[in-house]
Amino acid sequence: MIEIRDLHKSYKVGSNSLHVLKGINFNVAEGELVSIMGSSGSGKSTLLNILGMLDEADEGSYTLDGVVIKNLNEKIAARYRNKFLGFVFQSFNLISYKNALDNVALPLYYQGIKRGERIDKAMSYLEKVGLADWAGHLPNELSGGQKQRVAIARALASDPKVLLADEPTGALDSKTSYDVMNLIQEINDEGRTILVVTHEPDIAAMTKRIVNLKDGRIIQDTQVNQVRAQENV
């Protein structure tokens, strides 16, 4: 599903150049649930941004579902993001003036789907995350866990190939975190490929594979026995 070869990325900080990713090689097969771990500054978020086409690599190749992602202009990047990827952010990033249902329906708007169908689809995803009763509520009327579940429903709405979650539990308490991870596991069980960036070992342990990043390099890539979140709830 994802193939990355020799990926480099550096940022200019003032007059210095900060080499963040120093040659990443990394494959993800369909249906995997991978966590990317590392301390802050290890380059894990940068990697996720490149995977998410929110940022572009300086060197190296990136293939997503057989499509080479290179020299994208904004328009094509937007189309690919819409088609291939779903994002879940630490700070939820819901649009504050839209209710849960409309937030979930937004990616479908950019797919050019008509309103009626959009609403039906969005509703079914809200049901899937267990928030059908909260469809008409604005984000600030929802708890953190609920917001993140709305965000997950939104990420799923466009039926993406890969779900990218950047610290999805970073702003949540542990009980809610496990709830959210449980949802992510369930989605993975249906066969969707998911990448989770986290620095929490217990969250990483709930995935099937842990990739450890340090100073811009992968230092460890192991398959693990998945801990089911359900057991911790």
């Binding site: 941004n49 998410g52 929110l54 940022d55 904004e74 328009k75 937007a78 189309r79 993001r81 819409n82 088609k83 994002f87 952010f89 630490q90 700070s91 990033n93 819901l94 649009i95 504050s96 003036y97 839209k98 409309d102 937004l106 990616p107 708007y109 950019y110 797919q111 050019g112 008509k114 309103r115 939104r154 466009s158």
Partner: protein, 415 residues
């Protein structure tokens, strides 16, 4: 740009950001409102002052004669030129299509006027009925001298208000009473008032024919006064008036054998020259209000630009989210512009309609001297709305474009 889905998305945004929409709309609507009201008042002042002007400074042309200063065709200088009825009749006939009002004047010197025991010395003149309009006199009671009086040599007089107040004590009604002028009885037929005040109201008018016959004037006249038919603008009026003045001067010089270059024999007082000041004033007022109006528009444009900048800034994160979800840059720019144009246009028209209604319904009620019938050219007002909308769109475009270019990660970066 105009598909239904986009409209739904925009109405959704507007509905859920009522305060923002309201504030944007308010600034645009108030800008337009102020501008239209300003232009309306400017127009009203122009109307008011031009009415003032028409009342006071009528384009009256006064002709009087003096003494020749140059010898001409064997005639000595120092000759007194006396205008006759023929001079007046000739001019009146020749220019009958151009003239609005016309009258010749026979002046009676030492006009002692008595009524009972009261007496006073007033200017007594024999005039044509038109003279009432040349003097801009209004009747307080009775009537002015008319053509019938003139034809029948009636011994009637119209007296000024001051004359009435002097001679008719205790509020006695002067109409039908007889006053004596140089010992001859004249019947009072009317009392007039004059915007020129007391001086112009210490006058006694009688028919020209009567004055000439009774006071031994033969067919002599002292002055002639004319007004020309009004023209559309000052330049035309001035040209017509100067042309007429020259015509009448030449004609008088010819009839009375005066050297063409003689300056003192015939004098023509053309009050339209003075009127130029009023027209200049009106132009000044016009420029002033346009200046203020343009400044208002600039202020409005700056205001709208500011609001657009803030709106885009405020929506940066939202734009980042939308981009992460697959919005193309153009669709972001389109969304921001579409919304801003929609809001400013609606607000602009609301401001326009509100101000036009105010002018329409309140305008006619304004009864001050210098403002009359304030109104505004609808096309001008409409143009300003469009200018503001387009300016708002341009002002919104650049920040929106920049926001759309920002990488989503930067827009989404946690504060």
């Amino acid at each position: 740009m105009f598909e239904l889905e986009r409209w739904e998305e925009i109405f959704d945004t507007i509905r859920k950001n009522k305060l923002r929409t309201f504030l944007t709309g308010l600034s645009v609507a108030s800008g337009i409102f102020i501008l239209v009201i300003l232009l309306g008042i400017g127009e009203g002042m122009r109307n008011g002052i031009s009415q003032e002007f028409q009342r006071d400074a009528a384009n009256i042309i006064y002709v009087y004669t003096g003494v020749t200063s140059k010898e001409y065709k064997g005639l000595n200088p120092g000759r007194r030129i006396q205008m006759k009825n023929e001079d007046f009749n000739y001019t009146a006939l020749k220019h009958q299509d151009d003239l609005e009002y016309k009258s010749s004047i026979f002046r009676i010197w030492n006009g002692i006027v008595n009524f009972g025991k009261e007496s006073g010395s007033y200017r007594v003149e024999g005039v044509y009925p038109d003279y009432q309009f040349l003097e801009n006199s209004g009747m307080v009671e009775g009537r002015f001298v008319n053509y019938k009086d003139h034809e029948n040599f009636e011994k009637v007089v119209a007296i000024g208000k001051k004359v009435r107040d002097d001679l008719f004590k205790d509020g006695k009604d002067p109409l039908g009473e007889y006053v004596q002028i140089s010992g001859i009885n004249f019947k009072v037929i009317g009392v007039f008032t004059d915007p020129g005040g007391e001086r112009e109201e210490s006058l006694v008018f009688m028919p020209l024919s009567t004055a000439q016959r009774v006071f031994g004037g033969a067919n002599n006249i002292a002055n002639m006064a004319f007004t020309l038919e009004p023209e559309d603008n000052f330049e035309a009026a001035l040209a017509a008036s100067n042309y007429f003045s020259t015509e009448i001067e030449n004609q008088l010089k010819e009839t009375h054998t005066i050297a063409p270059e003689d300056e003192s024999a015939v004098s023509i007082n053309n009050s339209l020259e003075n009127a130029k000041r009023f027209y200049d004033l009106m132009d000044m007022i016009k420029f002033f209000f346009w200046g203020v109006g343009i400044c208002t528009i600039i202020a409005g444009v700056v205001g709208v630009s500011n609001i657009m900048l803030i709106i885009v800034k405020e929506r940066t994160r939202e734009i980042g989210i939308r981009k992460a979800l697959g919005a193309e840059p153009l669709s972001i720019v389109g969304m921001v512009l579409h919304e801003s144009i929609f809001v400013t246009a609606i607000a602009g028209f609301i401001g326009l309609i509100a101000s036009l209604m105010l002018l329409e319904f309140v305008g006619p009620l304004i009864e001050t001297q210098y403002i009359s019938n304030p109104a505004v050219n609808f096309n001008v007002a409409l143009t300003t709305v469009f200018i503001l909308v387009i300016a708002g769109a341009i002002a919104g475009f650049f920040p929106a474009w920049r926001a759309a270019r920002i990488k989503p990660i930067e827009a989404l970066r946690d504060e």
